[in-house]
C-alpha cells in the first residue's frame, strides 16, 4: 500500500494540472496545506485524482477550500478520475461547509466596555446579597413550617448531618485550638516576662480564647469543611437535575436539604466552640506550666478569679449566628450551581471564601456591639 501523499503541480498555458496520489488524510494536511495554498489563483485548475487511493473529510475539505479560492478568482476547478466513493465524499463535504449564521457580538468595547463590566459586577454583588437574604428567609420559613408540623421533619437526616458536621470535626477542632492555646501561652510568656507579669498570661489566654479565638477558629474550620461539603452535595444534585425532580415530586428542596443541614450546624457549632475553648485552655495551661512554671493549681485559681464567666457567653452567643451564616452560604451556593462541572468547583470555593468572610465581618460587628454595651 502506498501510504505517502504525493502532490504535483504542472502549469500549462490555460490551467494548472494538480495531481494527487496515495492517501490524503488529516495527517497529511499540515504538509499539503501550504502547497495547496501556493497554487496561484490565476487560471483554471484541473484536479487529477485518478491515483488517489484514500481521502478523508479533512483532505476533501482542503480540496474544497482550493476550489472555493479558485472560484472566487473567477476561474473553474475541474476534477477528473476520482473514484465514485471519493467524489461522493467531496460532494458531501462541500454541502456541509458551514456558514456563520449569527451576527458578531457587538457589545461596548474599550473603556466603555470596561466600565460596563465593572458596573455589571457591582450590580451582581448587590443581587448576590439579595439572593443570600432570600435563601435565609426561605430557611426560616421552612424551619417554622417544620416546627408546626414536626411529623414532616427529616429527623434521620438531621442526626446524620449532626454526626458529619459536629462529631467528625471534633479531632481537627481540638487539635487546632490546643495548638493556638500553646502559641498564645508561649508568645504571652516571652512578652509578659519583661515586666515580671508572667501570671497575667492566664488572663491573656483565657480572655482571648473564650471571647474570640475559640469560636472564630472553630467557625473558620467549619466554614472550610462544611460550607464546601454543603455546596458540593447540593450542587451536584442541582447539576443532575435531582433538585428539579424533587420539585416535581412535591418535595421542597429548602425543606428537605436546607433545614436539616443548617439546623445541624446550629446545634453543633456551639458544642464545637465549647470543645475548642476547653482544648485551648488545656494547651495554654500545659505550656504555662512548661515555660513559666505556673502550676495547674495556680492556673485554675487565676482562671476562675481573674476571668469573668461572661467571656464564655460572649463567645458562645456568636456560635448560632455563625452557624446560620455558614449554612446559608453553603446551601445557597449549591443552588447557584449551573449544569456543568466547572460551576460546581467555582461555587464550592466561592462558598468557603464567602462563609469565612461573612463570619469575620459578623465577628467584628459583635465586637463593636459588646464594647458598646460594656460586656
Amino acid at each position: 500500500m502506498n501510504d505517502a501523499l504525493s502532490l504535483t503541480v504542472e502549469t500549462a498555458a490555460d490551467h494548472h494540472l494538480v495531481r494527487l496520489s496515495g492517501v490524503f488524510t488529516v495527517h497529511d494536511l499540515p504538509g499539503a496545506e501550504p502547497r495547496l495554498a501556493a497554487i496561484a489563483a490565476d487560471r483554471a485548475v484541473l484536479l487529477d485524482l485518478a491515483a488517489l487511493e484514500r481521502l478523508d473529510t479533512a483532505g476533501a475539505w482542503a480540496l474544497d477550500r482550493l476550489e472555493a479560492r479558485i472560484a472566487e478568482a473567477g476561474f473553474t476547478l475541474e476534477t477528473q478520475g476520482a473514484a465514485p466513493h471519493l467524489s461522493a465524499l467531496m460532494r458531501r463535504v462541500d454541502a456541509a461547509i458551514p456558514t456563520p449564521d449569527l451576527p458578531e457580538d457587538t457589545g461596548p468595547k474599550g473603556l466603555t466596555g470596561r466600565l460596563d463590566a465593572i458596573g455589571r459586577r457591582v450590580v451582581d454583588m448587590g443581587k448576590h446579597g439579595g439572593v443570600f437574604l432570600n435563601a435565609f428567609g426561605m430557611f426560616l420559613y421552612r424551619l417554622g413550617q417544620s416546627l408546626r408540623h414536626p411529623s414532616r421533619f427529616h429527623l434521620t437526616a438531621l442526626v446524620a448531618h449532626c454526626e458529619d458536621v459536629g462529631w467528625r470535626a471534633v479531632p481537627i477542632v481540638s487539635l487546632l485550638s490546643f495548638l493556638i492555646g500553646v502559641v498564645l501561652a508561649f508568645q504571652g510568656a516571652t512578652q509578659l516576662r519583661q515586666f515580671g507579669a508572667e501570671v497575667f498570661v492566664v488572663d491573656l489566654i483565657a480572655i482571648s480564647i473564650l471571647r474570640e479565638l475559640g469560636i472564630l477558629l472553630t467557625s473558620i474550620i467549619v466554614a472550610g469543611r462544611t460550607a464546601s461539603a454543603f455546596t458540593a452535595a447540593i450542587g451536584s444534585m442541582k447539576m443532575r437535575e435531582e433538585i428539579d425532580a424533587m420539585q416535581t415530586l412535591g418535595i421542597d428542596p429548602a425543606h428537605a436539604l436546607f433545614v436539616p443541614r443548617i439546623l445541624a450546624l446550629i446545634l453543633m457549632l456551639p458544642i464545637l466552640g465549647l470543645v475548642a475553648n476547653v482544648m485551648g485552655l488545656l494547651g495554654g495551661g500545659i505550656m504555662s506550666y512548661l515555660v513559666l512554671d505556673i502550676s495547674p493549681g495556680i492556673f485554675l485559681v487565676r482562671l476562675i478569679e481573674g476571668t469573668d464567666v461572661s467571656n464564655v457567653f460572649v463567645g458562645l452567643i456568636k456560635a448560632p449566628v455563625f452557624a446560620v451564616i455558614i449554612g446559608v452560604v453553603g446551601c445557597n451556593a449549591g443552588m447557584q450551581v449551573g449544569s456543568n462541572a466547572e460551576s460546581l468547583g467555582r461555587q464550592t470555593s466561592n462558598a468557603v471564601v464567602q462563609a469565612i468572610f461573612a463570619v469575620i465581618v459578623a465577628d467584628a460587628i459583635f465586637s463593636v456591639f459588646f464594647a458598646e454595651i460594656g460586656l
Partner: protein
C-alpha cells in the same frame, strides 16, 4: 461481497460479570471491515457493557479481544496506542467535556495530529459540526446549553473528528426527532460508504436497523444469540427475536423501507 471478509473486531469467549450478575458468558462476535453492524437486545442485556469492553473501558473476566489485528487484552499499552486514534466512540449520553465548547470538544482528538495549524483545526471542527447537522452557532455553546439531541450530534462529531476506521455508536438516534433521526441514519450510512467506515451501532431504533445496517447481532441469554442480515433475522426461530422482528413496529419500519 466476497466470502473471505476482513475482520476488524474479533471477540472470543468474552465473560463479563458484576458481582454475581453475569452479563456476558462465552460471547463471540466478528465485525467485518466497512460494514454497519446493528447490535440489538432488550434493556440491560449488556449492549453498552459490550461496547465498553471492546474499547477497553471494561475489563472482561475472560476472553479475547482483537481489534484491527491487535490483541488488546495481551498487547498492553502499545496495542492500545495503535488503535486509539483509529476508533471513535459516541457514548449513550454524549459524554462531552462540560468545560469545553462544542468546537473545542471536537478539536480534542484533532490535537493528536502533529503540526496541524490551529485555524485549520477549528475549521475542520466546524466542518464536522456542520456535517452532523448542527448549526454554526452551536460550536460556541457549552454542552450544558444544548438539548439532548444536539448533545448526541456533538458527541458524534467528536467521534468522527479523525475519520476513524471504526466508530462505536451507543443509541445515536434515541431522543432525536424522526426527521433528525432519518438524517442521522443517512449521515452514518453515507460516511460509512464514502470513508469505508466500520460502524458498531447499538440501537433500539428499528428504522435505523432497516435503513442502514448491513448486519444485525442480537444480544440475549448472555451472548450473541444470532447475527446476520435483517432478512435472515426474520427467519430466526427464537421467541424474543421473532417478537422483535415481527412486532408492529418492525412491520411499520419494513413498510417504510419498502416505500423509499
Amino acid at each position: 461481497m466476497t466470502e473471505e471478509r476482513d475482520v476488524v473486531i474479533r471477540l472470543r469467549g468474552i465473560h463479563n460479570q458484576f458481582g454475581r450478575q453475569v452479563v456476558h458468558h462465552d460471547l463471540d462476535l466478528d465485525v467485518y471491515r466497512g460494514e454497519i453492524l446493528g447490535v440489538v437486545g432488550g434493556s440491560g442485556t449488556g449492549k453498552s457493557v459490550l461496547l465498553k469492553t471492546i474499547v477497553g473501558l471494561q475489563t472482561p473476566q475472560a476472553g479475547e479481544i482483537e481489534v484491527l489485528g491487535y490483541d488488546l487484552r495481551r498487547g498492553g499499552e502499545e496495542a492500545r496506542d495503535k488503535v486509539d486514534d483509529r476508533w471513535g466512540v459516541m457514548f449513550q449520553d454524549g459524554a462531552l467535556f462540560s468545560s469545553l465548547t462544542v468546537r473545542e470538544n471536537v478539536e480534542v482528538p484533532l490535537k493528536h495530529v502533529p503540526d496541524l495549524d490551529p485555524g485549520t483545526r477549528a475549521a475542520l471542527a466546524d466542518l464536522k459540526i456542520s456535517m452532523v447537522g448542527l448549526s454554526w452557532s452551536a460550536g460556541d455553546k457549552y454542552p450544558s446549553e444544548l438539548s439532548g439531541g444536539m448533545r448526541k450530534r456533538a458527541g458524534l462529531a467528536r467521534a468522527l473528528a479523525l475519520d476513524p476506521d471504526i466508530v462505536f455508536l451507543d443509541e445515536p438516534t434515541a431522543g432525536l426527532d424522526p426527521i433528525g433521526a432519518a438524517a442521522f441514519d443517512q449521515l452514518i450510512h453515507g460516511l460509512s460508504r464514502s470513508l469505508g467506515l466500520t460502524v458498531f451501532l447499538v440501537t433500539h431504533d428499528l428504522d435505523t436497523l432497516y435503513a442502514v445496517c448491513d448486519r444485525v447481532a442480537v444480544l440475549a441469554e448472555q451472548r450473541v444469540l444470532v447475527s446476520g442480515t435483517i432478512e435472515e433475522m426474520g427467519r430466526v426461530d427464537h421467541p424474543w427475536v421473532h417478537d422483535y422482528f415481527h412486532g408492529p413496529r418492525a412491520r411499520a419500519a419494513l413498510t417504510a423501507k419498502g416505500e423509499t
